[in-house]
Symmetry: C2
Subunit: 206 residues, 2 copies
Amino acid sequence: MNIPSKHLEDLVEHFSSLPGIGKKTALRLVLNILKRKDEDVNSFSKALGEIKTRICSCKTCGNISDAEVCSICSQHSRNQSIICVVEDIRDIMAIENTDQFFGVYHVLGGVISPMEGIGPNDLNIPSLLDRVNQGGVVEVILALNASMEGDTTNFYLYRKLAETNITITTLSRGVSVGAELHYTDELTLGRSIVNRTLFDMAPVKR
Amino acid sequence: MNIPSKHLEDLVEHFSSLPGIGKKTALRLVLNILKRKDEDVNSFSKALGEIKTRICSCKTCGNISDAEVCSICSQHSRNQSIICVVEDIRDIMAIENTDQFFGVYHVLGGVISPMEGIGPNDLNIPSLLDRVNQGGVVEVILALNASMEGDTTNFYLYRKLAETNITITTLSRGVSVGAELHYTDELTLGRSIVNRTLFDMAPVKR
């Protein structure tokens, strides 16, 4: 692409370094920004420049937070003895949206991936083990994605936590609510038969 | 979405105000930015904050430029007597990529659209007419998109320019090079028959 301005090209480069954004999309975004009011662009630039200094991780769970302890960890109504282990803060948002979990979280910040050189000590795993060893934890829910890396991480955590006598659970896998059986993949349908549950008239609180 | 930080939410709002970027994508982009080095984020923020002040429009053609006159208008090898009228700077980049045009451009900055309240005076149309009236222009190529608004603008420009005695041309419309006839839409195929050209062994310089 033959961009006629060095400054424009520079900003297009920055935008196209974001995941899923190519050069053409980046150019479209920058041209849109050029049409905006100065104060809008300045406040965008300010929010971007301050993001790294203004945001911190919760010192307990690793969730993104404006304060030292995040809004979930500091809520007294939440059950501090059940810890749900997730990969990413987006998983917290997804689980919070269900309104079905009232314990606390622990954000690993990734999963173990030998291919990418990510080991247990690059993640928030030591802090999870510390938290469990301090006592008071009854259950750890492993809520990682069902990928090879997720399974490896689950297995590693299970081995580490099995030494303690807390309950270790994981999310149930099965047919999605509302999905049609004949469209469900074999692996999921197979697991949902093996892990069948007792029939209950109201399995999900809505 | 239940974002646990006010600053994060603020930046997500800014990103999701960009065209084609929703809340979830914006969050993904911001989380990616959070993982970067401070200096990368600062240089991104700086490029964004300075974009409106650093970039100017070429005073001749309206193209984006770092200087008063853009790199195309200031090239002596270009034929200043042929002006190609385009909607947007992206169209200039597309035509420049073909290496088939050696005249100069005029960027309208949009098309006439009564529905959106955009009239001729909101666009760079007066400056085009001034440029033509100053003399020295032999041909104006109307290279706008074939939409209702593009056609309206073409028609308006044609009416205005017909008073002078310059040649007014438009891009040829027809079957794409390499396209299969039976997949081409009727309108395009119809036009390509009506506007058929004399057979030439080398119609496109590559």
